[in-house]
Amino acid sequence: MSVSRTVLLGTVLAAGGAAAQDASGDAATGRALAAAHGCTACHVIPGLRGLGSHVGPSLAGIGGGRYIAGVLPNTPENLVRWLRDPPAVAPGTAMPALGLDEATARHIAAFLATLR
């Protein structure tokens, strides 16, 4: 839930611009990006304030999970792959491809990895 996605996204990207160059993502940037992309519309995410949606699973502990969506082993690379295009990994999934770019997906994946 945010007042203006555009405004928030702008600040986040400005802050995370440097870190986005790295191969692996930055968890703090990822946290802000997860908020800005409205992930809480479907998921309860520890550390993110949302309206409490249970459309998708709670992401508490996802960093310690063994599989992503019950399909892919939970590695950083696979998580990025999943975030960028979930239906490509699991055709039956309800989770849409949000059109995240590589850097954004990396940051978010880094954030999700911290949820143990």
């Binding site: 839930m1 945010s2 007042v3 203006s4 405004v7 304030r49 949302g50 309206l51």
Partner: protein, 853 residues
């Protein structure tokens, strides 16, 4: 040496003290025995004002604490944006219960309790004139208030806001019983407020110490008098509004539903016609208390006593002209908005007079910073700030911005906490010694003050800013990124600090407040009569009064009173008595016998509560049973507790004054109470007339009555009117019969009058029904039947009264002399008949004259 006794005015300063020494053996002991409070489990039957007042105040304080707990939970939810501590529905119930409880279950009862507790002592009366009525009001309130809070635990607490705007609260959008719980809670407070108002008006005007003319009356009594009169004229609007809403919810009569000719704004006008005076109803007694505490704290007489009394009365008047300033955003034409703006400005003048009179009084004395004074200074700081934001919200364009935002939350809490809670706490610290004989802790009190002062300001000052930055009221959450986060966090921290202050206050009360008679005396050196030595019977003898601060002007007064050298030092009938004086000059008129402890009013209160509660949860049969027992209990209470008759010929109260112990007609306190009740009744009926006029104006466009309405012919209503007029004539005849000592004929005539009244009202009802009008179809029909509802309610009242009078007559308890009961019923009857005729004129003639259909 002294002039012949018959010429001396026993009230004059030069006359000898009314009663000589030594006092007869056992006089004081008998006084103590008669006024003793019941012990053990019979304590619930207690009626003494000092005990009922304390219970009342304690219960109000308890409800306040409950409401504070809700506010702390709400502040926890709002501490950070997008929080999930409380869900929306729960939050909405919390803010509704918080607001309703603070306004109705804490603020009004608390100041009323202060009046019940203090007034008799301050006026040197033995008690208020109708102690069982106060006790009944207290028990009904305590039980009803508890049920109201308990509804929270079942998730059925009201959730429509304390202002309960329809159509949100109409059946369609609030189908649950939540809204009915609100109406229940309000019902109790309506009963107890009206009962208290009657008690206080009659008590202040008729039970003052001999010689205490209006111009010598303490300012607190002035404030309570204005308070009670305001209740008489303000509460009927909310009583009427709640009746309409319940009729709409229960029977689908569309008063507020736009698609059937109703108007949601009707509710808002009625509600705020009550709701704005309500603010001053809460503030004025507190202001009166301040005007008592400051002179004692600085040991100087109040500067501008007359101005302040005038300001109290002026505030009372003006406050009835302000209600629309709660409705500036409803699209009302700008011309009337300007009027209400100006009226809202005008009310600052009497408040200003009081504030500067307090400052001037402080300037003339020697201030000492004891605990009550700290709270007075805190009050001035917070209240003046709240008053200034009050002027701001009277500015229409500014109000359009801040209305229903946190700015208003800040403003109203500044006014109510500053204007009522701080003076109340000052009063608790100031008057505690008059009850418990010693001061509460100065150290704890100082801590309480600073925690509350800092906490309250830290909680509410930031809300001005969060409101301007876009935070609306009554939101369970707010988003990140609006800049609201720091202000809300500050408010939450402040609330925590204030809560610590409240905890310490409770601790101090538990440790240091007792009701006992081992008085330290008058530690703050107050000049008014509540500082005389007090027992359950109040002062030993009733002093004659020549000034506003008798204890300062006559240092020997305390000793004289205690020795029993003033009026009525014992008892003359062996029952509880108090002196009744004339309303302006306070000259003794008679000695009224007042009832002691009893079960009737307690059972009546329990069953009244049971009645409303069962209705709310829709157990109709249980409600009927409770209702029947309640009526029986009321009859028992009245039968044993009123109209004692002329037990003795004359009572010698000293100073050569030999007074009757029984009077009827305009001199009796019962007659006064009935007149006040009739004023309440007539104001409610005024709201009924307003309902018709307002709906007519509001629905002028589609037409009101709606097109196709057939108004009944006038022949049958004319007969109905004749029947009602006939019933009044029969009551008039019954009076003649009673004067001739024919009490059975009187009873028969009165029963005949009842038959005529019932016939008239029923006939008119049938006329409309036969004309095909149905109340659920349109607001016009609903308003017509609302009149019948009201007249029917009076028919039931008259039926009970007539049967009661007849029973008393057959029991030989009514006669040519002993006729207070009869006279009270008689004047109520005349009123009810006039009202019924006016109601018929309203429903039949108004649509013909004004109708646009």
């Amino acid at each position: 040496m002294t002039p012949p006794e018959s010429l001396a005015d026993p009230l004059s300063r030069d006359a000898p003290l009314p009663n000589p020494l030594p006092r007869p053996e056992g006089e004081l002991e008998e006084l103590e025995r008669i006024w003793r409070r019941p012990r053990g489990w019979r304590f619930v039957t207690v009626v003494n004002n000092n005990w009922i007042g304390t219970l009342y105040l304690g219960t109000a304080g308890l409800f306040c604490v409950f409401a504070v707990i809700l506010s702390l939970l709400m502040r926890a939810q709002l501490a950070v944006p997008a929080n999930d501590f409380l869900a929306a529905e729960r939050y909405n119930q919390f803010f509704t219960v918080h607001g309703t409880a603070m306004m109705f279950l804490f603020a009004v009862p608390a100041v009323e309790a202060l009046g019940v507790y203090l007034l008799p002592a301050m006026l040197a009366a033995r008690d208020l004139p109708f102690p069982r009525l106060s006790a009944f009001a207290f028990w009904a309130y305590a039980i009803g208030g508890t049920a109201f809070f308990v509804s929270l635990f079942f998730g059925v607490a009201p959730n429509g806001g304390w202002f309960m705007y329809p159509p949100l609260t109409s059946k369609e959008y609030s189908p649950g019983i939540n809204a009915d719980f609100w109406l229940l809670g309000i019902g109790f407070i309506e009963i107890s407020a009206i009962a208290g108002a009657i008690e206080i008006i009659v008590g202040i005007l008729r039970n003052r110490a001999p010689g205490m003319s209006l111009s010598k009356m303490p300012l607190f009594a002035w404030a309570m008098l204005v308070f009670a009169v305001m209740i008489v004229f303000a509460f009927p609007a909310v009583i009427w509004a709640t009746i309409l809403l319940e009729l709409e919810r229960a029977f689908d009569w569309p008063f507020f539903l736009a698609d059937r000719g109703g108007d949601p704004l009707l509710w808002q006008h009625l509600f705020w016609f009550f709701g704005h005076p309500e603010v001053y109803i809460i503030f004025l007694p507190a202001a009166g208390a301040v005007s008592m505490i400051i002179p004692a704290m600085v040991q100087a007489r109040m500067v501008g006593y007359g101005l302040v009394a005038l300001a109290l009365v002026g505030t009372g008047f003006l406050s009835f002209g302000l209600w629309v300033h709660h409705m500036f955003a409803t699209g009302i034409p700008s011309l009337s908005l300007s009027f209400f703006s100006a009226a809202s400005f005008a009310v600052t003048v009497p408040s200003g007079i009081q504030v500067f009179a307090w400052i001037a009084t402080i300037a003339t004395g020697r201030p000492s910073l004891q605990v009550p004074m700290l709270f007075i200074l805190g009050f001035l700081f917070i209240f003046v700030l709240g008053g200034l934001t009050g002027v701001m919200v009277a500015v229409v364009p500014f109000d359009w911005q801040v209305h229903d935002t946190y700015f208003i939350v800040a403003h109203l809490h500044y006014v109510l906490i500053g204007g009522m809670v701080f003076p109340l706490i000052a009063g608790v610290y100031y008057w505690a010694p008059s009850a418990s004989g010693r001061r509460m802790s100065r150290r704890l009190g100082t801590w309480v003050f600073w925690l509350l002062f800092v906490g309250v300001n830290l909680t509410f000052f930031p809300m001005h800013i969060s409101g301007l930055m876009g935070m609306p009221r009554r939101v369970w959450t707010y988003p990140e990124g609006m800049g609201l986060d720091p202000w809300n966090m500050a408010s939450t921290i402040g609330a925590g600090i204030a809560a610590c202050g409240i905890l310490l206050l409770i601790l101090d009360l538990v440790l240091h407040f007792r009701i006992s008679n081992d008085a330290e005396g008058n530690p703050y050196k107050g000049g008014t009569l509540e500082w005389l030595p007090q027992g359950n019977y109040a002062a030993r003898s009733i002093p004659r009064i020549h000034s506003r601060e008798p204890l300062w002007d006559n240092p020997a007064l305390e000793e004289e009173v205690k020795q029993g050298r003033h009026f009525l030092p014992g008892t003359v009938t062996g029952l509880r008595e108090t002196i009744v004086t004339s309303p302006v000059e306070a000259r003794p008129q008679y000695v009224a016998i007042i009832p002691g402890p009893g079960w009737g009013h307690v059972i009546a209160a329990i069953c009244t509560a049971g009645f409303f509660l069962s209705l709310t949860v829709q157990l109709v049969w249980l409600a009927a049973a409770f209702g029947a027992v309640a009526i029986g209990a009321v009859v028992w209470w009245l039968w044993t507790g009123t109209d004692y008759g002329p037990l003795i010929e004359k009572a010698d109260i000293g100073g050569g004054l030999r007074l009757p112990v029984y009077v009827t007609g305009p001199d009796s306190v019962g007659w006064w109470a009935m007149v006040v009740l009739i004023l309440v009744d007539a104001t409610t009926f005024g709201c009924l007339i307003f309902t018709h006029a307002f709906l007519w104006l509001s629905q002028a466009q589609p037409g009101w009555p709606p097109e196709g309405t057939t108004l009944p012919e006038l022949a049958s209503p004319a007969v109905a009117a004749a029947l009602v007029a006939g019933s009044a004539a029969l009551v008039w005849l019954s009076d003649l019969a009673l004067r001739r000592g024919r009490h059975i004929a009187m009873a028969v005539l009165m029963l005949g009058a009842l038959a005529l009244f019932l016939g008239g009202v029923t006939l008119d009802l049938g006329t409309w029904w036969d004309a095909g009008l149905r109340p659920t179809v349109h607001s016009f029909a609903a308003a017509v039947y609302a009149n019948h509802f009201w007249q029917g309610f009076h028919a039931v009242l008259l039926a009970m009264m007539a049967l009661y009078v007849a029973a008393r007559a057959f029991a030989g308890l009514i006669g040519p002399v002993r006729r207070v009961t009869f006279d009270n019923v008689r004047i109520f009857w005349f009123y009810a008949a006039a009202q019924a005729l006016a109601g018929m004129a309203l429903v039949h003639l108004f649509p013909r004259l004004a109708g646009s259909g």
